[in-house]
Symmetry: C2
């Protein structure tokens, strides 16, 4: 069977196809890089309409990454998907606490999601300036609560939880607090989308 085997050639061809199929739709340079990388990751052109990027989000996100800030992710999948080699050259790292023993125990006792308890613990770590939420609306709701209570002050929230219970509502709530965000409107999103957005920011540096 004949097929393209060079990974750089595959990526180049993919972005050419995406650009062509987006047709007349144009975005500014940096937003373009984020939107196309999400489409590249999902093969879903709906994301061109679903992505909403706060005017300060890209500047704040890039500055935080350049400063070596840590990224908190609500799933191990996002952590696995982020380009950690690139991140580490900037001094950054990725944290996730949903499998932390204390978190598991406390979540069971309180009858809430591990994601919620993990977010509370993450807010104690002042190196964490970026939150990438791709799965649990409860994590995003909890983060919003902590921000309102003055217990967290992230530079950027990538808020793309996916699903049918709370996902849309949590993203709507995020747009109403004063923190730069990148979201996917409605139900769609997920770990691959979240990792793609963080990687697009890393590749903009």
């Amino acid at each position: 069977m004949k097929y393209i085997k060079d990974p750089r050639e595959i990526e180049k061809r993919s972005f050419e196809i995406i650009t062509k199929e987006l047709g007349d739709r144009k975005f500014n340079h940096r937003e373009d890089k984020i939107i196309k990388r999400v489409i590249h990751t999902t093969a879903d052109f709906e994301y061109a309409d679903l992505l909403e990027i706060h005017p300060e989000a890209i500047d704040k996100g890039i500055k935080a990454l350049k400063d070596g800030s840590y990224i908190y992710t609500d799933t191990q999948m996002i952590k696995a998907g982020i380009n950690k080699r690139k991140l580490s050259t900037l001094g950054g790292k990725v944290c996730n606490l949903v499998h932390d023993k204390e978190v598991v125990k406390e979540a069971k006792e309180r009858g809430v999601t591990r994601s919620m308890v993990a977010i509370e613990k993450a807010c104690d770590n002042k190196n964490i300036k970026i939150f990438a939420i791709g799965n649990a609306p409860t994590a995003l709701f909890q983060l919003i609560n902590l921000i309102k209570e003055g217990k967290a002050k992230p530079e950027l929230i990538v808020g793309v939880p996916v699903g049918f219970v709370g996902a849309k509502e949590s993203k709507d709530a995020l747009m109403n607090i004063n923190v730069p965000y990148i979201i996917t409107k409605g139900r769609k999103g997920g770990s691959t989308v979240s990792a793609a957005i963080i990687n697009a920011l890393l590749y903009l540096i």
Copy 2:
């Protein structure tokens, strides 16, 4: 803010919404579990049409899992997404070799993707009976070649690479060899879809 915090309640409500919105569309019990879990993971109802399940795929997959077979995944993200606690109770485990030092070196020398070289190495491990490909069409093409050459004989291939270069073609090729498969037709798929399918099989046991 008021929102549902109990993870079991969230999952239950989610599947109720999915069932309701699928309306008249009915699937047999086991296919239903797979299709709904993929929709749950992506919030994308297109997957009800895109998923194609070979008649022997579920039986062969469940038997292999019950026998403690290993699963090879083409990304670390799929590995992160699979319920490894459930898998380990059956004696199984998940393998991924794209970050293996030898694989990285050899891929560079040959100018091919790490995914391709990793698949070759995975086929040497006779405990690996299930392949879950969610990212690289090159990995799936290579696996098909190895099967044709008699060097691999998996019980099940979850073939859901995503993208614009080779993804559709690799899945079309998979349907033409004599191995049970679960695929997503066309361009869509990805690591979260792949993990959702494997987890649905685990939850059927």
